[in-house]
């Protein structure tokens, strides 16, 4: 049996061999360690975080779900920094799904949800304080042992040093005689290291998950195998959210290996002894679906055209002001000049490489379920599964696995709920896998949208008024990234959303609505620059009231990309900016165009980013590179469309992703040197790319792209117009 084992899988050190265990007390102050005895005396919210063995080995619980972004390594590095740990002696263990213990504090509540590029920025301060507290405890224990004042002692990695008497004690040696005091020393921000003293933060440290990911040993949920396990896959309605009414149950049950057929609220799951038998049963299953779904008859292309135009231009549509600042009405009424642009974008599919899946097993009494899955929100998933089963969360034992990509999709675990419901009915362990086709058809998409952006210029040509209206389905999923104030200090602004509803499942996609909102914002700005006869960078500097932070990233990317240098024939540059998750980035792309085929090629990308303190520069760079390629894939190729209520695309032949031959040849990422708290970097590479490419396209051809993705067909139409 190949139940996941290994150093990442489970918390094993509570009550383990000799050494010091540091638990954590929860409260509204952040993560603070308490003594082990205190931990045992408190009923809830206490669990081990750090253990120092007498063998000098240190174990740190890593709380952040790992989906490729590297936070599994990055968060413990911040703790180890303040603990002054010898990183080569640190073992990481994945935290259980217990947000009350392992969550970060967010608006008074603890959460383990890793969305919005928040792992490092949410855990950074609290795990540093925790590390500092363990270090202080060790120093005090050594001081007591030597009978000296702890203020005279210093630490080196895994060692307390008494410099005046040239004595040393390793952390392991201290663990062999010390006990964790009943009351741990308190620590505050003054106890934290200065940036100049960092040994790990900002210095190259290899990711811990990489070795397992080059020899096939990394365990994803889809790799879990249990004794007596069977396989399942759910067939959902082509028209999302229809319900199964009846199906050829008897016929399918006769097929080889079929174990059961399990009706679910929005689908029918076939269960069989092998996955190939599941696939055959899926093919044979024929379901009659209810005809009451909202999405019935929906045509996304028609909606994005006339319907959205109507919503934009009709006062009757539901309009929700997202933000209003100053007096935009007056700014536009008194404007010397007004610019206006409309931009469109299609649905986007997450396309994480590991199709959604989960493994579930009930105990004999059927009052407890074990779940193996990859999720961005282990605590939420545990609650969701419990709710579906009528259980309390403690009846759900959760095993977090590596995720084969997530990009927002894995923050809602509807697939895991399905696995649990199937396992309950069939009374056997089950591995439930959606096929790629199912993953796409029953996807949760980035909404399509229409943007209308307007700018009012005063007599001096400065932009003083700004209006942005977004039309589409998905409420909050429509307006992240719509607020420009972090980079453009335009005094009078009005932002509104005009909603509609199509009955299509929608979800946070990498950077949510930033990709299409920034496309519109920075597209209009580039157009204004051209019409005002100014260099795009010059226009932003002289007309857009740049914030100091924006001035810095623009200046950095100007230098990095050698913005003013002449490019070779057939190449052109485009510029854009974006904020995301507290970070600010400016980017430049260099493109060429094959006019016959309509193919745009992005050759080089430069990005200058203010992300605060960068905990791991290479991992951060990898995140930005990833965001750029993910964004570019969406900008050049990806479109999901709905016809007659059903998703048209079915696999990677018609939902096309960027391949190596289409990827940029060079990506240059520079992080500004900062001593401010870290901000999110998982999505900062993505949003600027659409407008950067469109603006470069204008520089090359004199034509503008207003509808993303910029597929070859669309590019040819624009060139011919």
């Amino acid at each position: 049996m190949t139940e996941p084992t290994g150093k990442l899988s489970r918390r094993s050190f509570i009550g383990a061999a000799a050494g010091l265990t540091f638990a954590v007390g929860f409260g509204n102050r952040g993560t603070w360690f308490v003594s082990d005895s205190h931990a045992k005396s408190v009923e809830a919210g206490i669990g081990a975080w750090v253990r120092i063995g007498t063998d000098d080995e240190i174990t740190i619980i890593t709380p952040a779900a790992e989906m490729g972004q590297g936070s599994m390594t990055g968060v413990p590095i911040a703790l180890a920094e303040e603990l002054d740990a010898d990183w080569s002696k640190v073992t990481l263990e994945m935290a259980p799904a217990e947000p009350e213990t392992y969550g970060y504090l967010n608006r008074g509540r603890r959460s383990m949800r890793i969305t919005g590029s928040r792992a490092i920025r949410s855990y950074f301060e609290q795990v540093r304080l925790a590390g500092a507290q363990v270090r202080k405890t060790l120093v005090q224990a050594a001081a007591q042992h030597w009978g000296v004042d702890s203020a005279t002692l210093v630490t080196e990695p895994n060692t307390v040093v008494d410099p005046s008497r040239k004595r040393r004690l390793s952390y392991g040696e201290i663990a062999s005689f010390a006990t964790v005091p009943a009351v741990l020393p308190s620590v505050g921000k003054d106890d934290l290291k200065q940036k100049k003293d960092f040994r790990l933060i900002g210095h190259p440290v290899a990711r811990r998950d990489v070795p397992e990911k080059v020899d096939g040993s990394a365990m994803f949920a889809i790799d879990v195998h249990l004794p007596d396990m069977v396989y399942a896959s759910t067939v959902h309605a082509p028209v999302q959210l229809s319900k199964p009414l009846r199906w050829n149950d008897a016929d399918v049950r006769k097929l080889a290996g079929v174990v059961d057929i399990v009706p679910l609220e929005q689908g029918v799951a076939v269960v069989a002894d092998t996955f190939e038998h599941v696939l055959a049963a899926r093919d044979a299953l024929s379901v009659i679906w209810s005809e009451d779904a909202l999405a019935r008859g929906y045509d996304s292309e028609a909606a994005l055209g006339d319907e959205y135009d109507g919503v934009l231009n009709s006062g009757a549509a539901a309009s929700a002001p997202v933000m209003s600042e100053g007096d935009s009405e007056k700014a536009f009424r008194t404007a010397a000049k007004i610019y206006r642009g409309e931009f469109r974008s299609d649905y986007g599919y997450h396309a994480q490489m590991e199709p959604l899946n989960a493994v579930a097993r009930f105990n004999a009494a059927s009052d407890r379920v074990e779940i193996w899955e990859g999720t961005q929100a282990p605590g939420d998933s545990r609650r969701l599964v419990a709710q579906a089963l009528g259980f309390e969360p403690h009846q759900v034992i959760h095993h977090q696995m590596y995720m084969g990509g997530a990009f927002g999709r894995r923050s809602v675990t509807d697939y895991t709920v399905e696995a649990a419901l199937i396992a309950r009915q069939i009374r056997r362990p089950v591995k439930m896998i959606w096929t790629r086709e199912e993953d796409l058809a029953f996807g949760m998409f980035r909404p399509q949208a229409l943007q209308c952006v307007e700018a009012a210029l005063d007599d001096a040509g400065k932009v003083t008024g700004w209006r942005h209206c977004v039309v589409g389905d998905g409420d909050r999923l429509l307006y992240s990234g719509i607020n420009i104030e972090e980079y453009y200090a335009i005094p009078h602004r009005l932002i509104e959303r005009r909603g509609t509803s199509h009955g299509i499942r929608l979800k946070h996609w990498r950077a949510v609505a930033h990709p299409f909102n920034i496309f519109a914002i920075e597209g209009l700005i580039d157009e204004m620059a051209a019409k005002e006869g100014l260099d795009p960078l010059e226009f932003r500097r002289t007309r857009m009231a740049l914030t100091p932070k924006a001035e810095a990233v623009f200046a950095a990317v100007e230098k990095l990309s050698d913005w003013h240098a002449t490019r070779s024939e057939g190449r052109a540059l485009g510029l854009s900016v974006t904020e995301r998750s507290g970070s600010l980035g400016a980017g430049v792309v260099e493109i060429s165009l094959d006019a016959d085929s309509g193919r745009i090629r992005v050759h080089r990308v430069w990005a200058a980013i203010d992300g605060g303190i960068v905990v791991q520069p290479d991992m951060a760079r990898a995140n930005v590179e990833s965001g750029i390629v993910y964004g570019l894939s969406s900008v050049l190729k990806e479109r999901a469309t709905i016809k007659n209520g059903a998703v048209v695309q079915s696999n990677f032949h018609d939902y096309r992703l960027l391949r190596m031959s289409e990827a940029p040849e060079e990506i240059h990422v520079e992080f500004l040197d900062r001593d401010t708290p870290p901000t999110g970097l998982g999505e900062i590479g993505n949003p600027f790319i659409a407008s950067a490419v469109a603006n470069a396209f204008y520089a090359l051809t004199g034509k503008r792209l207003y509808h993303m993705p910029f597929t070859p067909e669309r590019v040819k139409q624009v060139l011919a117009a």
């Binding site: 080059v214 096939g216 365990m219 994480q352 490489m353 590596y402 790629r436 750029i628 190596m660 990506i667």
Partner: protein, 150 residues
């Protein structure tokens, strides 16, 4: 029973003959380093070697490898010592890691045929393997690094 060798071990699988090799490897033989991504020969996450040739294992029936020598990522080298695996670590290529077995197996075929590939030869050879995390530039760097060290 269909008999073949996997990673130099004799195996026999009692699956329907038309079962894709992918599922025979993953679920019958529990060699889960080979991944399911699309099931349609479009993404390359399932690439293994059959008699030394890179093959998308979702596109070949298990009966088609009767008597053949199959190598999966688990058998590419002892202790992840293949120059590509070492270069993959040095360049910190993987992010989510899900496609990387396919990337490495496809790259291993290239280096076996062409120990000093040009950048263009690398791109042409690797173009069938999708990486959704977008590690392409690092995949290229790692292959170039491994080629220098072979």
């Amino acid at each position: 029973m269909i008999k073949f060798t996997v990673n130099a071990k004799h195996v026999s699988v009692s699956a329907d003959p038309d079962t894709p090799l992918l599922w025979a490897l993953r679920e019958h033989l529990r060699l889960t380093g080979t991944k399911y991504g699309c099931g349609a020969g479009l993404c390359g996450a399932c690439i293994v070697h059959v008699n030394g040739k890179a093959v998308k294992s979702c596109q070949i029936a298990v009966s088609g490898v009767e008597g053949a020598e199959v190598t999966t990522i688990e058998g590419l080298s002892p202790n992840a010592s293949h120059p590509l695996q070492k270069a993959w670590i040095t360049e910190q290529v993987p992010q989510c890691g899900y496609c990387q077995s396919g990337q490495i197996m496809q790259a291993a075929e290239l280096l076996a045929m062409n120990p000093k590939p040009s950048r263009q030869e690398i791109v042409t050879h690797m173009n069938g393997v999708i990486c959704r995390c977008g590690t392409y530039t690092r995949v290229i760097s790692a292959i170039q690094r491994a080629a220098e060290e072979v």
